[in-house]
């Protein structure tokens, strides 16, 4: 989700240096998307961890489960569950860098955010600033148990969309070159990733 202003996504519920998880209660159109950049405050506001959203889960709810497993549920009941009932949504983000002062560091943050730290979407201009340097790519590729190739493709596409039209293709080409170096020993994976970096014309 690349926007001109930062939107409050939710608040941190648990975290580590490698990433953080937050809960949110947003209606569907505002839920952040896979691969979006976000940021959470750490070290009492002196640093801001940059995260890539790699998972969005809707927590278990017994009432919804009961209705889901039976016949006879009405349109109004489904609309009630989806629009009126605020079911907590959990967003997981992988830490890929941090900002201290005006400088972005493409490394793991010195400290994770604290519980209940607000999580904001990263505004477009900040996404562009952060992705000037692609040194964060190895951090993504080294993350275990995550769909890293898809995450990387989605994140780079978001970063391209945050740029003016004319800069999108050169950015993705450069990102493809960096990925080729990093994944030279696994051509199968690289091929899939490069497919995912083909320029898209409209917004995500």
């Amino acid at each position: 989700m690349t926007t001109s202003a930062s939107t409050l996504i939710g608040r941190v519920t648990r975290c580590s240096l490698r990433g953080f998880v937050g809960a949110l209660r947003l209606p569907e159109p505002n839920v952040p998307i896979f691969g979006a950049f976000c940021t959470a405050e750490a070290q009492q506001g002196t640093s801001h961890v940059v995260g890539l959203i790699y998972d969005i889960t809707i927590q278990d709810d017994e009432f919804a489960r009961q209705i889901a497993t039976t016949e006879g549920v009405s349109e109004e009941q489904i609309a009630d569950q989806q629009q009126n009932r605020q079911i907590p949504i959990e967003v997981s983000a992988l830490a890929v860098g941090y900002r201290r002062g005006n400088r972005y560091q493409q490394a793991l943050p010195p400290q994770p955010p604290l519980s209940l730290a607000p999580i904001y979407s990263l505004p477009s201009a900040e996404v562009v600033a952060f992705t000037q340097d692609l040194a964060f790519l190895p951090l993504v590729l080294s993350a275990g148990n995550l769909p890293v190739d898809e995450l990387l493709a989605a994140a780079l596409q978001q970063a391209a969309l945050a740029r003016p039209q004319a800069e999108r293709r050169p950015f993705l080409l450069e990102a493809g070159r960096v990925c080729s170096r990093l994944m030279a020993d696994d051509l199968g994976r690289l091929d899939t990733l490069l497919q995912g970096l083909r320029p898209v014309e409209s917004g995500a």
């Binding site: 009432f63 009961q66 209705i67 039976t70 016949e71 006879g72 549920v73 009405s74 349109e75 109004e76 009941q77 609309a79 009630d80 989806q82 629009q83 009126n84 009932r85």
Partner: protein, 369 residues
């Protein structure tokens, strides 16, 4: 075994249909006003009624309430009533409109009776019941002229009035008046109203079936108590008798409080409804719903449709409860806000020493080494 007596009870219920109207009337007269059994209506007591089709579009209103009772030991005495409600435009496919309306009572006139005693929990619960019905009347005003069913998550008889012996009469009467006023408003708006009781434990129809078997001269308290069907409930009887979707005949509620309702034009009737396998609801309705075929059919059809996805209990009432419920954290928040407001006015709100001491003692007792 209780279950082995069910066939006999069922036969007794069917037997009521063969009894001459006069013979049954004579038995009911002998049983007297204080006998708590169900009274029959025009509908033959043992008949079952298939589900009618609901109108293509109608409004379903549901309300439920919860409360925070005053705590004598809290820093600031207050009580709170929260009413949750749901307004479903059935057939529209749109999300229901939901409301949650909390009202805080902290005025001494609300908190203390004329003798200076703290308001009883029963009276607060009675005011909550009246507020639930008031919310339904408010919503029904907006749907006047269109088919509407207003649902309550308890019986229609005001429970407070049954406990009147322990209560000062004047505030109870005030609540009852308000309650009747809301019923009158619902009727004026053309809405059907029904109070739904899940897992009912009544045995009023069981009592009626037994009464039909007793010779008139043997009708007395001792024989009521010696009923062979003692321990069996209406629910067990109708769970055996009704197919899913069917309702029982309509009966008149035998509670002595029903006289107050009758005087106000709202005599309470009821029927049993099988919403799903092994799920029997008791549906209480005022006489003007019971005697209007369209309104009566709407109660049965709309409750069945609403309960189809939720194991037999109406969805809208489950949601109204969810909207009404006050969680412990919210309760603490209200208390903290009140204490802060008092402090701003130079009135420090201190919990009693007893409640403070209790808080010390409920903490973790062991020290880690």
């Amino acid at each position: 075994m209780l279950a082995s007596r069910l066939p006999g009870l069922e036969a007794a219920l069917t037997g009521l249909n063969d009894l001459e109207a006069q013979a049954l009337a004579a038995r009911l007269a002998k049983a007297g006003d204080r006998w708590p059994g169900a009274r029959p209506t025009q509908e033959p007591p043992s008949l079952s009624y298939d589900p009618p089709s609901p109108p293509a579009a109608y409004h379903l209103l549901a309300a439920d309430g919860s409360q925070i009772h005053p705590d004598r030991h809290a820093g600031a005495p207050f009580y709170l009533i929260n009413i949750g409600s749901l307004q479903v435009n059935v057939g529209s496919g749109t999300a229901p409109r939901i409301h949650s309306r909390p009202v805080l009572f902290h005025d001494p006139a609300d908190l203390y009776d004329e003798y200076g005693g703290l308001i009883s929990n029963e009276l607060i619960n009675g005011r909550r019941d009246a507020a639930e019905l008031g919310e339904l009347a408010r919503l029904a005003k907006g749907t006047a002229g269109q088919p509407t069913l207003a649902l309550l998550d308890n019986g229609l008889i005001l429970w407070l009035v049954l406990q009147v012996r322990d209560q000062p009469r004047r505030p109870v009467d005030e609540v009852l008046q308000r309650y009747m006023g809301h019923l009158t408003a619902l009727r004026r708006h053309g809405a059907a109203v029904a109070g739904v009781i899940d897992r009912p434990r009544h045995a009023n129809v069981v009592g009626l079936a037994h009464l039909g078997e007793l010779p008139v001269e043997s009708i007395n308290d001792a024989n009521h108590k010696a009923s062979p069907y003692l321990g069996l409930t209406d629910r067990a009887l109708f769970n055996r008798r009704l197919a899913a979707g069917q309702r029982s005949a309509v009966f008149v509620h035998g509670s002595p409080v029903n006289r107050d309702f009758e005087a106000a034009g709202h005599q309470v009737h009821f029927y049993y409804l099988k919403t799903a396998e092994d799920s029997i609801l008791r549906v209480e309705i005022p006489v003007w719903v019971a005697s209007d075929a369209n309104l009566l059919d709407l109660t049965q059809a709309a409750i069945l449709a609403d309960a189809a996805a939720t194991n037999g209990f109406p969805y809208s009432l489950a949601r109204a409860h969810e909207l009404a419920v006050i969680r412990q954290a919210e309760r603490q928040q209200v208390e903290a806000m009140l204490a802060a407001a008092l402090l701003r006015h130079g009135l420090p709100a201190r919990p009693s020493t007893k409640s403070t001491a209790k808080r010390w003692l409920t903490g973790r007792r062991r020290h880690r080494v």
